[in-house]
Assembly symmetry: C3
Homo-oligomer: 341 residues x 3
């Protein structure tokens, strides 16, 4: 694969500085780029990398035009990071082959399933009775579409991913390997020291343009559907419990989790390994730090954190031991204040 | 699907108030229920929802009989939540088709496996040599039963779940998609700065009525079997390490983990994302809060917690910074107390 | 299976005390061993178990020779734990059948894949076009090797594991069930309140002698490869994000996670459920405690911790409430110090 930088400038709608016929063969980080590489400077903090870079072309913001031009070829765009995203999409589209439409001979498509002619069903994949796979969708090798499930147009179920019976994902989605959409929510009624199962009668409803990471789980609802709105992005190993509702364009980093029946607003970000307990309301525009546990509803947009700071073990040990007496320290301080007042 | 509420009252062993011939077509939450819906009030705190609900029938406790009768049809039972659980089971049994017994043409059952005539082996499933699948068990599409593994009567391995070679699950269990039972425990001996693998010679032994969540891992033992007793319920993305022993009817919420060789008693509950380190003893009746790390054995039943409280980021930052000096604060307080005494 | 202890002493290069013709049929823990069992004492702390054990033979360090000889048969070696590891490997090699070389009739090997004659491709496994599976490698039942992926000599992909397109694992590795190597890294550029996908153009490069746990995820790099050096051991349910680089012989316990672009040195150990945020540098020889969040680079070898200590819930509650005012407590203490100085 190779590309003329003149063509890339046109693709990105940017201003080209330099020879349009110069060709590049990869996108790369500035600090390890050669003449055959196009790089980008998204963060002005790394401006020093720009001057030092041997990249054949760099994508920069208008504020960096002079610095970039002094160095060599450049494409000037309003938002270099977004331009990089678009360039990566173009690059992947050129370099990766789309599977051919049709059903692989080794796949099992049960009678009563409806697979659009432009969809691709890969080797050893399973599509259950009554399922619908719309045009341009890809059910990759060894993936699973359960009975009466629905895969929207252009959505890609990657190898070994799973959309359980009765669940639905809209258009242009991606479900990565090992993701399980529609396992039973975790519901039991106590009965004389044992657990009696509550069958999960709902399913999972996922909107358009949603990406779901590898080995992530989204459970089916107890009575109604677990609901994930358009544009939500979920990383790997995330747990979305039953009855959860997630607003549009919210993003979950890896290993985060939301317990049952919690509602999360739009355009939130949930940090890696953060956990949100059940039956809460989190409003729009909330940002939760990594490894934070949220135990109460949040009604004000903002940034929330709860993490014990990391320290050398010996220091931590002393402080942690004191922490077990913090309440009494406060009492002693109060007594002292009284005494000296 | 539809049901006469007279029949449902008989099913649940409850007292019917209202017209037995009224029919409902779904179970639903009180606040969004119509005349064709049966709801339930399990928590007296939500009593206000009862009067406002348009549900065709409600399941209530004896204390709510008057309030429910004033509203319309009702079924009065001792434990409405348990009645709901039973109703959900009945509903699922009516509404969902059981796979037919027999082996799907695309499944691979190795010579020497023993599949009971009443068991169902789904599309693209694998059953290894020497494995036993008992009557009424279901090995769903793309599921895996390793060599010499044992699946008890009526147990369901959901699509893409896995019971590794030599492992055993008893009767009436459920293993959800992506669960891996019987991968190697994590054991290595250090040798000159490298790790030498300790082969895991044990397996996994699971009792009756156990449910294991999606993408959960239960590792095989180093020398003896990892052991999970009857009635244990494990949610998604849980890690049960090698040699762990879990007592009957204990429940693990999502993303929790237990490290190697720890023993956990009966009827414990482990909160979401809680972690228990290795080689501990946790007695019966212990309840661990979400996101808590347990680092010492617990010999007294009760409720245990260790979580940094979530706060607005700016407040957290000030408190966390101070926390790094907590031990010295205590010293200063002590000095002050001495001085003013 | 059975073994003469004379043969085992020779295998382990140890000194035999006792009758070389005594046979054992299993390796077992000292406290539950009988005459047909060989055990080991790795930790002098458990010396009391030695005298009490009925094991037919024990593996001990030179310091324990007298105590062991007083009890019965023994094998004396410099490092009993390492000897146990080697014995476990020998035992597994005797007791477990290696799958026969060749491609199972139900597997799908796409045209253009290159499978060495001595490799084994299991039932319902998938090997994509252009993939290479070297000699002695095992692609187990239902496992997945994507297009142009590479599986080194002697490496075992366990059932239902996955090596995505273009990814590479070296020789003698093990990838456990459900592991997903090479899903997309989590990268998006914000664009008017939505997320624009950054295609992940790199892959995953894994060295020799690497073990990867069940349901663990290793994401492909954004521009270059995610990199895992020789001898790294990763437990279950671990998340390794895109562009991460991990030095040789580092080990990750279950449920730990590393966010994007972080570099971790050699011979580190990362505790269970520990998390390391993105874009950090962690030097060689760093040990992170379980459940600790690392938010800054670490440039000094050592042991680091950050965990709220677990306590009875009522005590925790009082201390946690006070923690929200810790900064003001410090201010009050300072004021008091001033006043009384």
């Amino acid at each position: 694969m190779q590309a003329r930088i003149g063509d890339l400038a046109a693709l990105l709608g940017g201003e080209l500085i330099g020879d349009p016929d110069h060709t590049v063969v990869r996108i790369g980080p500035l600090e390890r780029a050669g003449a055959d590489t196009i790089g980008f400077l998204a963060n002005p903090r790394y401006q020093s990398q720009l001057a030092a870079s041997a990249a054949g072309c760099v994508i920069v913001a208008p504020a960096m035009r002079e610095a970039a031009a002094a160095r060599g070829a450049a494409i000037v765009v309003a938002d270099p990071y977004l331009a990089y995203a678009r360039l990566s999409q173009w690059w992947a589209a050129q370099g990766r082959e789309r599977p051919a439409a049709g059903v692989h001979a080794s796949a099992v498509v049960e009678p009563g399933a409806r697979v659009a002619p432009g969809a691709a069903i890969g080797a050893l994949a399973f599509v259950g009775a009554g399922a619908v796979v719309e045009d341009g969708a890809i059910v990759s090798a060894q993936a699973h579409v359960g009975e009466n499930a629905f895969v929207g147009a252009g959505t890609r179920l990657m190898p070994r991913s799973m959309l359980s019976f009765g669940c639905r994902i809209g258009a242009r989605g991606i479900v990565h390997g090992g993701a399980v959409i529609g396992a039973d929510g975790f519901g039991f009624a106590p009965e004389a020291g044992r657990w009696t199962k509550i069958e999960q009668l709902g399913a999972v409803w996922i909107g358009d343009d949603v990406e779901i990471g590898a080995n992530t789980c989204v459970d089916r609802g107890a009575l109604e559907d677990t609901f994930i709105d358009d544009g939500v992005k979920i990383d790997n190993l995330v747990q979305i419990a039953h009855n959860v509702r997630i607003g549009a364009h919210t993003a979950f980093a890896g290993c985060s989790a939301v317990a049952g029946s919690t509602r999360i607003g739009s355009r939130c970000t949930i940090g890696g390994a953060a956990n949100i307990v059940g039956h809460l309301d989190i409003c729009d525009g909330v940002h939760i730090s990594a490894a934070t546990l949220v135990t109460a509803s949040i009604r004000k947009p903002g940034h929330y954190t709860g993490v014990f700071p990391c320290d050398e073990h010996a220091s931590w040990e002393k402080n942690a031991a004191t922490l077990k007496h913090l309440h009494s320290l406060r009492e002693r301080l109060r007594a002292l204040e009284k005494k000296t007042s």
